[in-house]
Symmetry: D2
Subunit: 328 residues, 4 copies
Amino acid sequence: MNSTFGERFRLSVFGESHGDCVGVVIDGLPAGFSIDFDAVKAELARRAPGNSPNATSRRESDNFIVMSGLFNDRTTGAPLMALCRNENTRSHDYEPQFPRPGHADVVAAQKYGGHNDYRGGGHFSGRLTAPIVFVGAIAKQILFERYRIEINAEIASIHGETDAAKFDEIIQAAKARGDSVGGVIECRARNIPVGWGDPIFHGIESDVAAVMFAIPAVKGVEFGDGFGFADKFGSEVSDGIGFDPNGNMVFTANHNGGINGGITNGGELKFRVAIKPTPTISLPQKTVDLRTNEAVTHSFTGRHDPCIVPRAVPVVEAGLAICLMEYL
Amino acid sequence: MNSTFGERFRLSVFGESHGDCVGVVIDGLPAGFSIDFDAVKAELARRAPGNSPNATSRRESDNFIVMSGLFNDRTTGAPLMALCRNENTRSHDYEPQFPRPGHADVVAAQKYGGHNDYRGGGHFSGRLTAPIVFVGAIAKQILFERYRIEINAEIASIHGETDAAKFDEIIQAAKARGDSVGGVIECRARNIPVGWGDPIFHGIESDVAAVMFAIPAVKGVEFGDGFGFADKFGSEVSDGIGFDPNGNMVFTANHNGGINGGITNGGELKFRVAIKPTPTISLPQKTVDLRTNEAVTHSFTGRHDPCIVPRAVPVVEAGLAICLMEYL
Amino acid sequence: MNSTFGERFRLSVFGESHGDCVGVVIDGLPAGFSIDFDAVKAELARRAPGNSPNATSRRESDNFIVMSGLFNDRTTGAPLMALCRNENTRSHDYEPQFPRPGHADVVAAQKYGGHNDYRGGGHFSGRLTAPIVFVGAIAKQILFERYRIEINAEIASIHGETDAAKFDEIIQAAKARGDSVGGVIECRARNIPVGWGDPIFHGIESDVAAVMFAIPAVKGVEFGDGFGFADKFGSEVSDGIGFDPNGNMVFTANHNGGINGGITNGGELKFRVAIKPTPTISLPQKTVDLRTNEAVTHSFTGRHDPCIVPRAVPVVEAGLAICLMEYL
Amino acid sequence: MNSTFGERFRLSVFGESHGDCVGVVIDGLPAGFSIDFDAVKAELARRAPGNSPNATSRRESDNFIVMSGLFNDRTTGAPLMALCRNENTRSHDYEPQFPRPGHADVVAAQKYGGHNDYRGGGHFSGRLTAPIVFVGAIAKQILFERYRIEINAEIASIHGETDAAKFDEIIQAAKARGDSVGGVIECRARNIPVGWGDPIFHGIESDVAAVMFAIPAVKGVEFGDGFGFADKFGSEVSDGIGFDPNGNMVFTANHNGGINGGITNGGELKFRVAIKPTPTISLPQKTVDLRTNEAVTHSFTGRHDPCIVPRAVPVVEAGLAICLMEYL
């Protein structure tokens, strides 16, 4: 298994949901950067459960401790390792008797010969997004300091509804039924310099999509008009070229989401990700009983998010920030 | 610029649209494989223009010559280099006077300081998908021989229409208007073994999406129900688990497109890509005149595909095959 | 900075000499392996100081704690993170007032803008070989279990002397003078299968040499007859080919150290590394006083190894084991 | 097989000794560079055989043709592919009846199941150093333009003799006897900026050694005093620190060859490589007859270099230049 990402800015993520900890080693941080840890905590809090009635009632205390790569409150240039101890895990929630549909339980057991840590999903757990948010929070600070890059994601829709005022109600209704709902997150980034990314295999779209699909529950990624392009005429989606008052070439529209030929064009980077409904629900699902080897219908009774979309928002931002660090 | 892909099965793509050639070096081919070059030619013919009234009237003769890595008609295990000479290029078609909206003309000139080969898009051209199809054709043969893996892509829709019988008419109508249309391609693969892919950063979805976005004009990728998940309840999209007659665990549905936690689950791999309308159209578009430095409205008069979707179908299949070779 | 190594078997090393800890994340371990931690401790003890009068009087307690990737006493296939808390550090020993000749003090300060952790050499310290030995100890177990590969390094010479009985005396004499000595380590490995390694850039010699030069104080690496080849006739160093009693091709000599064209040939892998004398010595050396900005002559008074060669022996073995894991 | 090298500056080498061609794809060249092809030819001529009585009488015409990545006589930033057609090959010279001791004939046949191109060594041939010299010649020009880096290698010894005036006589004497001799090449580079390289796994020594061992016949690499360190006291090999007249820190000696902790220190980079005697000699060697399956004594009668050292000099320079390009 390979849980590393990146070439010049490299992450190596480790840990399990109900093991000792989750954490990350970061290679490629610039030396001398003063991390704003309050801002890091704020990002982690956005991802953490327990802050809203829409999220799981699990308590995950996302306190990351930096154990290397910092000296006199600044990055040293050496690998920064940070970890977060796990607390309040109730590992009997996810006993392996009934593999969960829509999760990796079955394939993980097959791939690793039954040796995977199945407690809470182990290394496959959504808890592994915590170190990603940790890294992303630092990356966002560096990107802003260097280029004034600002990254903002928000919920575009929950279960097809785009009116944010109704999101809570939709989620609570699903929860009350023992069901779950999905949604779409839209992410935008401003002030990315022209020229990041390569044509063909190493375009920004390839890199960003690769990281987005690393987020559990993401099942679709589109840039600019995305799938909407498929129904349009070329003449409707032309990103015309013109000059700004200073004589610089600019685009008169942004259907392509700030990217041409895989390369940033100076416009706003824009993409959307589809998040599937949480597969672990209280409503009965078809599964198998591994003790009796019989097909059964089972209700999963743990503490689950009825909708993971709100908690995924900071993860999407973090993922983009990590991608962009490659181009510092 | 980095136009390489893969770790164990590596491509290094080179060439320009209107230069001497396009081609590829393949590292990581198994030794002793007898390539069926008729099948390779058939794949290249699917991508080549000029075979249908819907495609560009350019003649690209996609005859690849293998110049290393073959001996006594079999692969040697050494790098296989193949190239295809360019013919019949009319480089004045794409004079740099008017950068084309929706193409990389502007960003490429900025990124490479004006030194990029702009003729026909140079290294950014869709012609670079020819070597990808070449490699994919070989990869498909190896995947079938080793695992009976079958990969098939087809057009799911053109300009929103899903009835294949109407595709030609839609494309011809757009062409007649000097316009272009996009569409969606769906790709399926059978017989992929359980357990390919890693959780988090190196899941199959990340790898496949990265390659798909390497195909010019692809602006969205979704797996299984993809963006459709966003409007569903968890209970509607449950891939239940059961037993087949031989007692093996199987899934009773496939909303996840054959992938759980980034790892193949033995089911049919299923994904869709959104293809934007060809940006180079005869209808007038806003651009700038680089000789006068004035904003203008320009009609591009070259030989262009009114819809690139049909030619992209074999490229999508090739891209998937290349991804899967990593797991041999 | 990039402190990672490997493609399929990947290490990410972190930590500082006088910081909280040193440690490593290992990606690519097979699942289900039961690590013999007593054997790991024994390897770490070989590297640890304080076990012999020839080594530094520093006490480094090399107790690595595994914090991820183990479950029910077996590897899970997920990243294994292990760290070792630092103890008994006397960071005032190495105050930055006088940069140490032969160390990275000057270049590290320049490269990282003065932000590097200079205490005890920080991330540049020889203490970072502890996680390498930790990983190597596990790798050796796996290589033995799978292929019966045995790796053994030993001291070939200390300060030119090849009689092992005199090593202690030579080292103690140097120590008494406030000086230090170097030496040569020879490493051999048996039972490596034929065919590991690639020609040209990814031969076994390239991989092994890259890891050996990662060990502080290593300044030369040679395979088989190595530099001795330079003085020989081709006819003197011919590794003739013959048949063993079972009719398998074998070599009648092994001047090439078990490698031809970068690829293992089934013979004993054999290489030697040159270790320089410890640069931190009590005898006066030319350096600069960073407080007064004056050139001075300074005696470094910390606890230093008069000869690092004995402690480097297990590191050399570990380095080879790590290289070979790439070919599992 | 993987014949690629580098991360940011990447080579992908292809071809066979007696096949159609040898060549290389270069990714990561800066755009807008005007290559001096006369200088490239001069470098290739240094490596080519047939220019001196000491080299093989084979005629290899090293005319590389650039087929991509150049436009208007400048690099475009896109991959540059160049190849050199093979001429005047007498493939019956190296019939596979008698595998050559000291070459990869046996291991290549075993590793690739007999499918490797054995003619003239195929992809294992020293002819594959021609594309390396081609790339190195370009790299040297860029390094000089950007940093005034100068790279010079020379023969330090032939068969133990360091007096250059005697090299020819030694080589001719060996040739007359049907034998061969080895030697040592020393390489120095000036004006490398301080701070290139990383500690531990990605030090300059690791990178340079990895490339040097990619050169056929190289069996040892040492930096600075190298193996000479092993016999010295620390006090003898101290690279003292002082100030130059401008107040910059400088080193008062250079036993470490311009590298500390894997990182360039601004001093002259200095290393030496050991080259083994050409293994293909006319004097009889033990080998096997693959037609009769009998152990035999055989005299190899082809046109062989009695000493490959002179032709390896430009390859060593090229290898260093390629390494350094990674740090542009």
